[in-house]
Subunit: 262 residues, 4 copies
Amino acid sequence: MLKDIQNQKDWRNIDIDRVGIADIVYPVVVKDRSKGKQHTIATISMGVNLPHNFKGTHMSRFVELIHKHRENISIDSIGEILHEMRDSLNAEESQIRLSFKYFAERKAPVSGQISLMDYGCDFFACLSGSGKDLVITVNVPVLSLCPCSKEISDYGAHNQRSIVKISVRASKLVWIEELIEYAEKSASSPIYALLKREDEKFVTERSYENPTFVEDIVRNITELLNSDNRIEWFEVSSTNMESIHNHNAWAVITKDKRQGMK
Amino acid sequence: MLKDIQNQKDWRNIDIDRVGIADIVYPVVVKDRSKGKQHTIATISMGVNLPHNFKGTHMSRFVELIHKHRENISIDSIGEILHEMRDSLNAEESQIRLSFKYFAERKAPVSGQISLMDYGCDFFACLSGSGKDLVITVNVPVLSLCPCSKEISDYGAHNQRSIVKISVRASKLVWIEELIEYAEKSASSPIYALLKREDEKFVTERSYENPTFVEDIVRNITELLNSDNRIEWFEVSSTNMESIHNHNAWAVITKDKRQGMK
Amino acid sequence: MLKDIQNQKDWRNIDIDRVGIADIVYPVVVKDRSKGKQHTIATISMGVNLPHNFKGTHMSRFVELIHKHRENISIDSIGEILHEMRDSLNAEESQIRLSFKYFAERKAPVSGQISLMDYGCDFFACLSGSGKDLVITVNVPVLSLCPCSKEISDYGAHNQRSIVKISVRASKLVWIEELIEYAEKSASSPIYALLKREDEKFVTERSYENPTFVEDIVRNITELLNSDNRIEWFEVSSTNMESIHNHNAWAVITKDKRQGMK
Amino acid sequence: MLKDIQNQKDWRNIDIDRVGIADIVYPVVVKDRSKGKQHTIATISMGVNLPHNFKGTHMSRFVELIHKHRENISIDSIGEILHEMRDSLNAEESQIRLSFKYFAERKAPVSGQISLMDYGCDFFACLSGSGKDLVITVNVPVLSLCPCSKEISDYGAHNQRSIVKISVRASKLVWIEELIEYAEKSASSPIYALLKREDEKFVTERSYENPTFVEDIVRNITELLNSDNRIEWFEVSSTNMESIHNHNAWAVITKDKRQGMK
C-alpha cells in the first residue's frame, strides 16, 4: 500500500488557516429565478483548516465534492458542501468560493427586444465554530453620466460604462436579480446587450436627465439596501471607466446593520 | 562534463519555425523623443528557427542577450539583438517581441496642467533570408462620441473610452509620439490623466461637436497614414467600450501601400 | 422616424475590412461528441466588411443573430450565421470568432475516477469571395518533463504544466476530443482534475519515463497531424510554464499541407 | 466661474468610506536596497472618506499628488502623500495602494551568472483617526516539489512554479529583499531568470532533496516571520501551479502577533 505522507505528524506546531485547491474551472448548474436553473461555468476555490499536528490535507477530495454537486449549486447545496468538506477532510472549518457568470434576460426599453446580459457573480461561504457565513456578490455594468460635466458644459456630458459591485450577507433569500435591479435603478441608466435605434434614443436621453457621480451610485444603492430588512451586511462599490481619462473613478461603502449605523 | 542533450540529433525530420522563451518580464530603457530615454518594463518573447536535425535550442542564451541589451532598446539595438540571437543560437532566422508601457506628457487643453499618459506599445521584429522586418504598434486611449446617438436624441449622446491600435511598417523612423497624435486627432477628443474643471468643459464640448463612429476613427487614421510617405504598411483598429452596452464596437483596416491600393 | 445615420454616404473613399462587435459574452450550446450537446459560455466577436460609400454598420443585428443561434452552435450553424450576417448587414464578407471553455470527462489512469477537464477552444470563421474558411483551435494543458534536467541530474527532473495550442483547417469534421488526444499523446503525460494516490504515482513515473522538450511536443503533434489526411493546415505551439524559471519556454510549427511541405 | 457641483450639499445623510481614483498607471521611482533607487511602473488607487453632507470629491487632486511624488516613492513619502491627500481633499481619512514590479539581481547557484527576477509588490497604506497603517506585500515565484509524489514513486516527483505571497505590518523597516529571501528559503528551491546547465543540475537536485507541500512552504515562512521581531502582523500564502493538474494547490496563514498567538 502507498504511504500516506499527508497523514504523517508535523512538528512545527503551526496551524494552517486554510489549505485546499484554487482556480479549478468546472461546469455547474445554478438556480435561476425565472427559469428554475441555469447552466454556467464556475471558477472555484475550496479549503479547510489544518491542525498543527498534521502534515498535509488530501487535495483530491475537494474535486470529488465539486464533481458530485456540480449539477445543483444553490445556497442550500453550498451548506451541504461545507459540511461534507469538513467531514471528509477531518477539519473544523471549511470554505468555498464560486465565481461565475450569471445571465438574465433584459428587455430593451422601447422596442421590447429581448437579449441576455452577463453579470459576474460570486458565492463565498464558510463554516466554522461560529456557524455558517455566506456573502453573495454581483457585478452589474451600468451607465453613469457625470453631473459636473453636464452642468459646466454648454452641451453634452461625458458618460461611461461603470461596474457596480454589491456584496451582501442576508437573513433571508435574496435573488441575484434583485441586486441587479438595485444597481440598475441607482445609476444614470441600465445597459443592454441589444438596443434598436429607438432604444438608443431613450437610453441617451434618460441618462442625460439622470446624471450620477460615482458617489451618487453608491449612496443610492445604500438607501435601497438600508431599507431592505433581509440585508444584514453589505458592501457596495462602483468603478466608472471614465471616458475622459485612462483611469477609473471609484467609491465604496461598507455597512454592518447588525451593529447599528457605522 | 555535462551532456548537451539539446545538441543531439533529432530523427523526426521536422523543422521548427520558432523556439525560444516567452513572457519574460524585464526592466528596459527605450528611446524617448523629448527626453532622450525612458525607463520602462517589457514583457519579451524571443525565438529562432530550429533545423530538423537538432534536438533542442539553448534557452539561457536568449536571457543573456536581453540582460546585455536592457539599457538600450531601440530600433537599432533590436537589429543587433536579432543578429546576435541568430549567431549565438546557430539559426537562420530570429524573432523578438517587446511589449511595454510608454509614457508621454500631455498638457490639459485649457489649464495647461501636465500629467503622464500610458500607451501600450509593442515592437515585433524578425530577421530571415528576406531581410529584417519590424512592426511598431501603439495603443492609444481616446474618447469617442456616437454620431447616431447625438442625432436621434433631443439632448446628450453616449460616449466612451476607446482603444485605438495602430501598427506600422515604415521605411524611415516613425516616433511613437507621432502615431499617438494620429490617433488622438482622429477621435472625438484626446483623453488625459489630469483635467481641471475648465478642461473637462472643453473636452465635453469638443467631443460633442466632433462625434465619431468606430468606422470614422479608423477611416480618419487611414487618411493620415495614407498621406505619410514613410508608412509602407499599416493596420489600424478601434475598440469602443460602449457606455450603453457591456460589449465593444470594433473596426479594422489593413493596408499594404507597397502593393498599391488594396 | 429616427434618422439612419449609419446608412448615410461617406465621402472618404475608404473601405473598412471589418466592423462589428467585440467581446460580447453569451451562453451557448455546442456539440459534444459523447453527450450530443454541451452548455458553455462564449466570448464572441463578429464583423463584416463595409464598402467605402457607407458611413456605418448596424451593430444591433449582430446581437440578434447570436441570440437567435445561441442554443445550437456547430460548424454547420456557424456557416448559417456567416450567411445571415452578410445578408442582414448587406455585406460581401462576414467573420465570427467564438472563444469558449469545452469540458471533457477524463478517467484517472489507475483508479479510473472520472472528472472534467476544461479546454479553451476557439472557432474562427470567415465568408468571402473565396468561400468559407474555418479554423478550429484547442488549448490543452499537459505535463512536460525536461530531458536535459533528467539526463544531467543524479535524481529528479524539473517538470511543469504546459499549454499546447493546436489550430487546424480541415477538409472533414475533426472533433475537439481528437485534437485533445493528439496533444496528450505528445507530451510527457496528460493531466487530470482528479488523481488519487495510485494515479499520482502513475503520472509521476510515466512523465519521468517520457521526458519531452517543448521542441519534442510540437514535433510529436506535427507527426500526428501530418498523417491525418483530414487536416489541410495547422499551427501547433506549446508554452511550458518552466518550474525553474519565472518565464516560459515556447515553440511553434505552422504548416500548409495544401502547398506541399513547407 | 464654473460651478463646483462636487462641493454642493448632499441630503441623503450617507457617509462614503472611500472615494477616489482606481487603476491609474504611472512611472515611479522606488527605493532599492542595493542600488539606492529603481525605476518601475505602478498601478495606483487612491481614496478618501467623504462626509455625508458633501456631494462629491475632487478627483484631479489625486492625480496631482501622484505626479508630484512620482520620483520618490518610499515608506516615508507614502506617509506624506496620505497627509497631503487628507489636506487637499478636506478629508479625515486617506488611503493609497501602489502595485508594482520590483526587480532584484539573482546569481545563478553554480555559474554565478547574474540576471534580474521580477517580483510583484504592493504597498497599501491608510491614514485615519487610529493613525497610519501600512501593509507591504511581495509575490515571490519559487519551485515546489511534492513530497508525496517523491515518496510513492519509484523515480521522479512532480514539481512546479509556485507563487508565494507575503504581506506584513512591521514596527521597523523591512526590505522587500528580506521577504523575498524568506520565501526562497522556505520552498524546494529559488528560481532564476538565467540558469546554465550546471545550475539546472543544481536546482533539479536541490529541489528533489528538499520536497515541500504547499503546507510546508507557508509553515516554514511562518517560523521565520514568528522569529523576526520587527513583524507585527503577517499573512502568508502559496499557490502551487500543480504540474499534474490544471488547477492550483493553495494554503494561507494569517497571524497578528500583537494579540498573542492566534
